[in-house]
């Protein structure tokens, strides 16, 4: 299925990341957004509010993020593709409903334009301190998908991908941007609608009466039916069986939660998305994501100018984590350098995946601005020794 040309702004534009994210959502078929204003994410829904009427879409500004994060899910069950947008404190408020979307297998997209925390923190300045919250922020066991763009172009591309993955696997997908990427303005090329692939919703072919809302198909993902079509199903956040009957017991829990996790785990190859560049015989590799990857780029260039053999790996999908890519990298370099705008979050995943095969050096930063390339360079220099 392709994007609807009526809503795709095909052409070459000069957009910031927030605006590009909005265009990505429209291209992916989103016609419903629920939000609550918060810097530095608000421009996404501001643009959506101005674009929605002409394409028959709806934006509703809810009374808080608790509301916004479930309003979009109501819209999904009525047949919409929907998203919500937030930052820091709002993301914290949305956590219960991220879990609700996991449990009810509601395809939807949560955009978090990261700013400095904890608490109100740095409302207008960047950080990457929410990457673990994105993974583990809601209570209970689950697997989640999160993509992480490093440019306005990627804000467009990865937002489309986020919607597609959410439909494919029936999980909430997060777009983790940061203040710099959200507010930076660059060239964005929006392709013609027929070149934008849109994943159709997995609607059931079964008739009411034969349909069970949580009966998994071969890839463990169940097919969905919309409200108002005579299916008369029950959707619940309580542990349930295939018919949606509550099952508050260990056996039902084991069956359901394992399937919810396994459907994402077994797709990790399809989900993994990263860029690897550099010499095969590199001594050091820099692993980064989001805005930090653009600073790392410069540090790697400076190191190469000094004759060092340095590779770089950039994560476009951060959850599920690219275990095998890091494992392979760790097998061939001496050291992996991990700069991030937090005091050491994703570096723990790198250490886990590297499993002692390479030395791992974090380059932490509490946020508020980006790294100095020299700080990453010194870690590279340290790593060569």
């Amino acid at each position: 299925m392709h994007a609807d040309p009526g809503a795709v702004l095909t052409g070459v534009h000069f957009l910031n990341g927030d605006q590009a994210c909005c265009e990505g959502a429209l291209a992916a078929g989103a016609r419903f957004a629920a939000g609550y204003p918060i810097t530095p994410s608000t421009e996404i829904v501001e643009r959506f509010a101005s674009r929605a009427p002409e394409v028959g879409g709806v934006f509703i500004q809810m009374e808080d993020e608790l509301a916004a994060s479930i309003t979009l899910q109501g819209a999904v069950w009525a047949g919409a593709r929907a998203f919500t947008v937030t930052s820091g404190p709002g993301f914290s408020l949305m956590m219960e409903h991220l879990g609700y979307a996991v449990m009810t297998e509601t395809p939807c997209v949560f955009v978090n334009v990261m700013r400095g925390g904890p608490s109100t923190g740095l409302p207008t300045l960047p950080a990457q301190g929410d990457v673990m919250q994105a993974r583990w922020g809601s209570h209970g066991d689950y697997e989640i998908i999160a993509v992480c763009p490093n440019s306005p172009q990627e804000c467009f591309d990865l937002t489309v991908r986020a919607f597609n993955l959410s439909e494919r696997y029936r999980v909430p997908v997060m777009v983790l941007m940061d203040e710099c990427v959200g507010h930076m303005t660059e060239k964005v090329v929006i392709p013609p609608a027929e070149q934008i692939e849109v994943q159709p919703r997995r609607l059931t072919a079964k008739k009411p009466g034969d349909y069970l809302p949580y009966e998994p198909e071969e890839d463990l993902v169940p097919a969905l039916a919309h409200a108002g079509e005579g299916y008369r199903y029950h959707i619940t956040g309580v542990t349930h069986d295939e018919a949606g009957r509550l099952g508050v017991n260990a056996a039902a829990q084991d069956k359901l939660v394992r399937r919810l996790c396994e459907k994402v785990r077994r797709a990790s190859e399809d989900l993994a998305s990263y860029e690897l560049e550099g010499p095969d015989d590199a001594d050091v590799a820099v692993v980064s994501y989001g805005i930090t990857s653009r600073v790392a780029e410069r540090a790697v260039r400076l190191a190469r100018e000094q004759g060092l053999r340095v590779a770089k790996l950039r994560l476009l999908t951060i959850w599920p984590f690219a275990d095998s890519a890091i494992r392979d990298l760790a097998a061939r370099v001496k050291t992996i350098v991990v700069p991030e705008l937090n005091l050491g979050q994703l570096v723990r995943e790198v250490e886990r995946a590297a499993a002692g095969q390479a030395r791992v050096i974090p380059v932490s930063h509490a946020g508020g601005t980006v790294h100095r390339p020299e700080d990453i360079l010194s870690a590279i220099l340290e790593g060569v020794q």
Binding site: I60, A67, V76, A80, Y100, H234
Partner: protein, 297 residues
């Protein structure tokens, strides 16, 4: 059957009695979880009858509940049903209705769920006058979690978290809803089954935000702890202490522990409904009819 005298202990085969509300219930999920004497089941019976009265295509009716004993209603109605999170049934219902305005969307939940944790959403949905129908089962406590104090608990009641009695002022729901802008507001008790059925029918047909409060006994956790007897005693109390006052000022509908209960239809107003307003507004803005094209899947 012959006139022969039956041996004592012989089983009499009674003809299978069908209740007309059965098609609206998920009979296979019954027995339900509610205690003997609980009023929630009574409200569901009235709701099923209201669905029949309203003559709606029930394929297009969805019920959204939050969490609580009352929040379990969604699980028993034979409709599209959503059991959401504590306090957030209204925002979920808002998304459902906005994406498909053809649906009749009913929110069915408890006093704690709708008016305490979800109070903000209640206010704003009423302000918007979005066409959803809220049925609030008010048993004066947080029942599911063991009978703790709620915003609706009358002063001087004993609850699990107020062992020496409650002293906080009590929320008067009709007054709150009127101030917020609800366009249909009624209150009945589970004693008033006919009136309740009628109010629910009216709410289903009303265009705009409708709120039906139902006082309902929780003998297990409220009445017993307060020495107010069982479910039957509560029905007697409702019968003796209810005063029907249609159009009563909602300033006078506050509840006390053993005082009179003002019941009736308090507010029926005409005001532009949210989706109508949105459609009018964007039609003016676009200079052509605004068409909902939200359902792209």
């Amino acid at each position: 059957m012959s006139n022969a005298v039956m041996e004592p202990g012989t089983l009499v085969q009674e003809p299978e009695a069908h209740n007309p509300v059965e098609p609206f219930l998920r009979m296979e999920r019954i027995p339900h979880i509610w205690c003997p004497g609980c009023g929630i089941g009574t409200t569901v019976n009235c709701f099923a009858r209201a669905l029949m009265n309203a003559g709606l295509n029930t394929d297009k009716v969805a019920v959204v509940s939050g969490i609580g004993c009352s929040g379990r209603v969604a699980g028993y109605v034979n409709l599209d049903s959503f059991h959401t999170t504590h306090g957030r049934a209204i925002p979920f219902a808002t998304g459902l209705k906005l994406a498909n305005p053809e649906l009749t969307v009913v929110v069915y939940s408890g006093d704690g769920d709708l008016a305490s944790i979800g109070g903000n959403h209640l206010i704003h949905a009423a302000r918007r006058n979005l066409d959803i129908k809220v049925i609030c089962v008010n048993n004066l406590v947080y029942a599911m979690t063991g009978g703790q104090t709620a915003a609706t608990t009358p002063v001087s009641s004993t609850t699990a978290t107020s062992p020496y009695g409650t002293f906080e002022p009590t929320l008067n729901l009709p007054q709150l809803l009127e101030a917020a802008g609800a366009t249909y507001i009624a209150r009945w008790t589970t004693y008033h089954v006919k009136q309740l059925e009628k109010a629910m029918t009216e709410a289903l047909k009303h265009k705009g935000f409708s709120f039906v409060e139902v006082l309902s006994p929780c003998p297990t956790l409220f009445q017993r702890r307060n020495h107010l007897g069982d479910g039957l005693a509560t029905m007697k109390f409702y019968k003796e202490h209810s005063q029907t006052k249609h159009g009563a000022s909602t300033a006078d509908t506050g509840l006390t522990k053993e005082g009179d209960i003002v019941v009736g239809k308090f507010v029926v107003k005409e005001r532009e409904e949210y989706i109508e307003g949105m459609t009018r507004h964007f039609t003016e803005h676009l200079g052509r009819p605004f068409e909902f094209k939200v359902r792209t899947c």
